[in-house]
């Protein structure tokens, strides 16, 4: 028994670490621990910072994309709305003499051959900015895609302020260039130095994103075939007599179809280029100076245009709208 106990004691003594071994198994010193914590913090902070910055950048990019799409949608909405106020769409004029002449898209307002009410859209050429670009826009764009609009400003009721001057305004600021703004006029007619139409297929491409494609159409009378414009030239007698007073008739006109019978399946609206006072409205059957839903004969007071309208719901002039009964 005593022998067994002595053996166990000897075994325990043999298996226990020596003093020398214990001295070699000491832990980290405080300095080592602090350095490790500091290094670990630096590594974790760098990683965290990198992730945070990446996340912020992605978030900012998403926000910019959303803002850009929103701005493009609003610009397109306005371009389509403004087409509805216009008489026809004009392509570039060669040679160009002002801002709107070399714009790919210009809307000419009804009854406005003077061009004062022309609205046009063009991308800003940052290397060659227009001379009448307001100073306030200087430095506002850093290589960005900027779509400019030149035209009269708006009244609170949504009408164009025809008494105001045409000014350049920024319609859209998109991401960095390159961007494109292309316009294709369809069913065109060429008069003088420019091409005119009532329809335009427009494509706006910002950055490398998918292009926004849309169509702008001015209000058109039915069966428009692109050949219903004509140019009125005052006769020498009229000029001498000073009776060629319709200055707005002297440039470009919309020629109505000679006879137009409205379809029963839709609302029939016929647009005219001038104020109602420039026309005589007659019920041809009775010869009275009235215009009925069944029959309305519209004639320019100065001659030139005469159109027989039947079952037309609305006659839209530049100053007012008439709905025959």
């Amino acid at each position: 028994m005593k022998t067994s106990f002595c053996r166990l004691l000897a075994l325990m003594k043999a298996s226990s670490p020596s003093r020398r071994t214990v001295a070699m198994q000491h832990g980290f010193t405080l300095v080592e621990l602090l350095m490790a914590v500091a290094l670990g913090s630096v590594v974790l902070a760098s990683l965290g910072g990198f992730l945070l910055v990446s996340e912020l950048r992605v978030s900012a990019k998403i926000q910019r994309n959303l803002a850009s799409k929103d701005a493009a949608t609003r610009a397109i909405h306005l371009m389509r709305e403004e087409a509805l106020l216009s008489s026809y769409i004009r392509g570039p004029v060669v040679p160009a003499s002002d801002f709107c002449d070399d714009a790919p898209l210009a809307y000419v307002q009804r009854g406005d051959p003077t061009g004062k009410l022309t609205i046009c859209y063009k991308l800003l050429d940052s290397k060659n900015p227009p001379s009448d670009l307001p100073d306030i826009y200087q430095n506002a764009f850093d290589g960005q895609c900027v779509l400019l609009r030149k035209g009269p400003s708006y009244k609170p009721n949504g009408d164009l302020d025809t008494s105001s001057d045409s000014v350049i305004q920024v319609l859209l600021v998109g991401p960095a260039q390159p961007c494109t703004f292309t316009v294709a006029l369809t069913s065109t007619i060429t008069l003088g130095a420019a091409t005119y139409s009532r329809n335009a297929d427009i494509q706006l491409k910002l950055d490398s994103s998918k292009p926004y494609s849309f169509s702008a159409r001015v209000p058109s009378n039915p069966a428009y075939d692109g050949n219903d414009f004509y140019q009125y030239t005052c006769s020498s007698e009229e000029s001498q007599a000073g009776s060629c007073s319709y200055a707005d008739l002297a440039v470009l006109h919309l020629k109505q179809a000679k006879d137009y019978v409205g379809a029963t399946s839709k609302e029939n609206i016929v647009y005219f280029d001038n104020p109602a006072s420039a026309y005589t409205l007659l019920d041809q059957r009775s010869g009275s100076a009235s215009c009925t839903y069944a029959q309305c004969y519209v004639e320019e007071r100065r001659g030139g245009l005469g159109v027989q309208l039947s079952f037309v719901d609305a006659l839209v002039f530049t100053d007012k709208e008439i709905r025959p009964r």
């Binding site: 610009a75 430095n139 708006y154 609170p156 009721n157 920024v170």
Partner: protein, 180 residues
């Protein structure tokens, strides 16, 4: 011998240390205060733009049929709808930019000077207003400033776009705008 090697800091050393800590603290405090004031300005500009976006959406939604408009007026640091009968926004709540930004001395100026902004049924800013027919050309810039910082925030209101930017001081005329 042992006690001499463990002597404490001298008064001079302590004073120097306290002075250094004081200088650094005051610089940090000053920078933090300025930064916070700049953030308050930024917050005020963001709130202003957000309010204008809401007004524009309302003009598009409610003005399209009636041909009416949404007209807002900036009085000192508060934006509120006007009481004009044709104003579709006249029941909108007013916005106190000083309160929502949490800043101290907010000041807002506009160029050209006009306190009215009117969004029409097309969602664009009209050059004249319901309450005042004088034409105020676009774009208009609203400068947000306070006495704690030279940096100003700029809000550019254009025909159909609203942009936020900044400029280092009123002496620097032009603002740098955020990228879209």
């Amino acid at each position: 011998m042992r006690s001499r090697s463990r002597q404490a800091f001298t008064l001079f050393e302590l004073m120097v240390a306290v002075a250094v800590i004081g200088i650094i603290s005051s610089w940090v405090f000053r920078s933090t205060y300025t930064y916070l004031q700049e953030q308050h300005l930024r917050q005020a500009a963001n709130e202003f733009v957000s309010y204008l976006l809401t007004a524009r959406a309302r003009a598009l939604r409610e003005g399209s049929l009636s041909g009416r408009a949404c007209e807002l007026q900036l009085i000192a640091t508060t934006v509120a709808p006007t009481t004009h009968p044709e104003n579709v926004c006249k029941d909108s709540p007013r916005l106190d930019l000083l309160a929502v930004s949490g800043g101290d001395h907010l000041q807002i100026t506009s160029m050209p000077e006009s306190s009215l902004i009117t969004f029409n049924r097309l969602g664009v800013v009209a050059s004249s207003n319901l309450s005042n027919s004088n034409i105020v050309p676009l774009p208009r810039i609203f400068y947000f400033s306070n006495s704690a910082t030279q940096v100003q925030q700029c809000v550019l209101v254009d025909l159909s776009s609203l942009r936020i930017g900044w400029r280092n001081s009123p002496r620097t005329e032009l603002c740098t705008y955020d990228e879209n």
